[in-house]
């Protein structure tokens, strides 16, 4: 995917195809719903601002993960710098997720348990586990974080072990 041909279309396609992923990242890193909305908006603005840097060298997924996670992890700085420039106080960009009727109560509870377990991890491990759950390869995770593939493997092994305990605790 080349960007410069039509930045508007590229941006919309990126957001359209990755909206669910962005929302998961917001849910994992934000402390409450308001923070989630702010983070979502910040990520969209950062994707737009960083679009010229996306030259199709890395996959759209990897690029998007980088921008979204980097924004989430350095959000405070950006919000401080942008505070006076914020126009839309009501966050009209944010659209509330609608619970899907076919989602069973058990599935929702399972998901809540999973989010609760992820919340106990440190910020970098949250990023690793999210990408792992999204079935990203070790190589992609390493590219996003700037660490070696083997170290991703080591960290994942540790995270999986820890989370397995927490998930089992939650089920008890």
């Amino acid at each position: 995917m080349r960007v410069m041909r039509d930045p508007d279309e590229t941006f919309l396609r990126l957001v359209r195809e990755n909206d669910a992923r962005l929302r998961k990242i917001c849910r994992v890193y934000a402390s409450d719903t308001d923070a989630e909305k702010d983070l979502y908006q910040d990520i969209l603005v950062q994707i737009w601002r960083a679009l010229p840097s996306f030259e199709g060298t890395s996959s759209p997924d990897t690029w998007l993960y980088r921008v979204a996670l980097n924004t989430a992890l350095t959000q405070k700085r950006q919000r401080t710098a942008r505070e006076s420039a914020t126009l839309d106080e009501g966050n009209p960009i944010w659209r509330n997720p609608i619970p899907t009727p076919d989602e069973s109560l058990e599935a929702r509870q399972r998901l809540e348990r999973l989010y609760a377990a992820i919340a106990r991890l440190d910020d970098v491990d949250k990023a690793i586990v999210m990408m792992h759950l999204d079935e990203r390869s070790h190589r992609e995770i390493a590219e996003v974080l700037g660490i070696t593939e083997s170290y991703v493997g080591v960290k994942l092994h540790r995270i999986r072990k820890t989370m397995a305990t927490w998930l089992a605790e939650g089920a008890a």
Partner: protein, 192 residues
Amino acid sequence: MNFDEARLAWRSQTITKDSGISEAEMLQLVKRESSAFDRTIARRDRRELITGIIVMLAFLPVLVTGPWLSRLGVLVVLVALAVIYRRLATARRVEESEHVELSLSELLEIERAKVTGQIRLLESVVSWYIIPPTVGAMLIVIGISGLGWFTAGYSIFALGVALVVYWLNQLALRHDLRPRRAQLEKLIHELR
């Protein structure tokens, strides 16, 4: 629930959203937000430049017709203001540069370097931000009014202002910059 079940739960979660705004409206909002940020920065830079020019013009009569000590004071103030403007502008350019497309570890190193630079700037605020313009202003007042009650009163006032400026800068260090650096270092540590 084991980890594979967790992965299944993660993958199968469906997130749909209400139709609050169209994609075109969202794009407009994002563009507006992005350019509002750029405009705010440009406005601030322009405001500071205009203020600097006004200060220089205000001091011009003293520089042309004032006693030699006051002229020296004006020169000191002008040089100090130029140095302050340059240092702050450089620091801001670095602070406002965005690198969100880099890998997390690269970004964190850059952010840490930025915050460390800001910390150093504020730690040395006395030598480049407080003393030079205060000394310049004192020379202007002494040159015009001599050593009398007015100069004594002005000195106390100038010292008070300098102390408040110093205190505000230390406050920013304690409550903003040092915690931010600690947070970045924590993230860098987590990556290792």
